[in-house]
């Protein structure tokens, strides 16, 4: 939420990839080691694997060992670019095919919401895989409430362009590192003013809480 600085209760890095993603090179355990060793100021992170939801992996032992919250979402590919999906459940996975490239963004946003989650277009300022250029060509996508305004992999003016888009359409903004290698986790995150303990809590917070995208330093 824009405006006064959010008093932080929880800082989460909302966009990362592990070796489960085709272009991910990081093991989740090494992400935890890195955060711990380097003193990165995040309380947890979300794994948003490309075109899939990793239902099987159980990271609770790592959460216990490192005291870090590890949540799982997804990053799907739509006709308006890539979209983070939080709150994935069985019903949502039957509503649309996560593996498909070129999903209808409107369908994804609508179905994710209907199934109890929230869809967040990511790196919107990026050419082709971001929402901005598509919005300029075809108009905004109904139902979008939140976009990623701070992405750790952005180049040039991509983050500034994302922020301008958020201001133009009154979207709220989140931050995520978009890490694909261990040492990139924790570059960008989202600061919330309420405690978050699980994915349900994150979805609720993204809908109703105060939060802001932040750069994190060790």
């Amino acid at each position: 939420m824009r405006g006064a600085e959010v008093s932080a209760l929880v800082i989460l890095d909302l966009h990362n990839h592990s070796i489960k993603s085709d272009d991910g090179r990081a093991k989740v355990e090494n992400y935890c080691q890195w955060i711990s060793k380097k003193g990165i100021g995040v309380d947890g992170f979300v794994l948003t694997e490309h075109r899939q939801f990793d239902a099987e992996s159980d990271y609770r032992p790592l959460e216990d060992e490192f005291g870090i919250l590890i949540l799982k979402g997804s990053e799907v590919e739509t006709d308006y670019g890539h979209v983070l999906v939080f709150g994935v459940n069985d019903e949502m996975q039957t509503a649309f095919d996560f593996t498909r490239i070129g999903l209808s963004a409107e369908l994804v946003v609508r179905e994710v919401k209907r199934c109890g989650g929230i869809a967040v277009p990511c790196h919107p300022g990026r050419t082709q895989v971001g929402m901005l250029a598509h919005v300029r060509e075809r108009g905004a996508v109904d139902g979008v409430e939140v976009i990623e305004t701070l992405n750790g992999g952005s180049r040039g003016s991509e983050n500034d362009d994302a922020q301008s888009l958020a201001e133009e359409f009154s979207y709220r903004g989140i931050g995520g590192s978009d890490a694909h290698i261990v040492s990139h986790i924790g570059r960008c995150s989202t600061r919330f003013d309420q405690d978050i303990e699980d994915m349900d809590g994150l979805v609720e917070a993204l809908r109703t809480s105060r939060y802001e995208a932040v750069r994190v330093s060790s």
Binding site: R25, N30, K38, R155, H180, V182
Partner: protein, 135 residues
């Protein structure tokens, strides 16, 4: 035999950064050696006609530069693999920085994993990847 022992390496250890020479003359020298004759590597204007921002450093040259960081740090080590993702073109005549950091240690095999990045003057990642190394 590596100049660095497995035991002496720490998780999170930074390897010394390198600012490699990716000037046109050096890139041309590499292309001649590698028999890569595409003008996209050696001619800014022709590269632009292909839709690139400038002449670009060949991917295998970037991989070689990253491999050199590791060998400079631990002469005699064995690089078992280098796996790179080319996020954006690396311009010839730019002033990039190659960085590497230890991000995994395997006590069973005494091998380590290293994160590798090449960033441009703006700090933007152009190439990223990992290497598996035996010491």
């Amino acid at each position: 035999m590596s100049a660095r022992s497995y035991e002496s390496v720490e998780f999170g250890e930074d390897l010394p950064e390198v600012e490699p020479d990716v000037g046109m003359e050096n890139v041309k020298r590499f292309c001649r050696s590698a028999m890569m004759y595409g003008p996209r590597f050696t001619d800014h204007e022709k590269a632009k006609k292909e839709g690139l921002p400038s002449a670009i450093v060949p991917g295998i040259m970037s991989q070689g530069l990253l491999g050199a960081i590791i060998h400079n740090w631990a002469p005699g080590c064995t690089i078992k693999s280098i796996d790179t993702v080319f996020r954006a073109p690396l311009s010839v005549d730019s002033k990039p920085t190659c960085r590497a950091v230890v991000t995994d240690k395997d006590d069973d095999t005494h091998s380590i994993e290293i994160d590798l990045t090449i960033v441009n003057e703006a700090g933007e990642t152009r190439v990223l990847g990992t290497a598996k190394v035996e010491l």
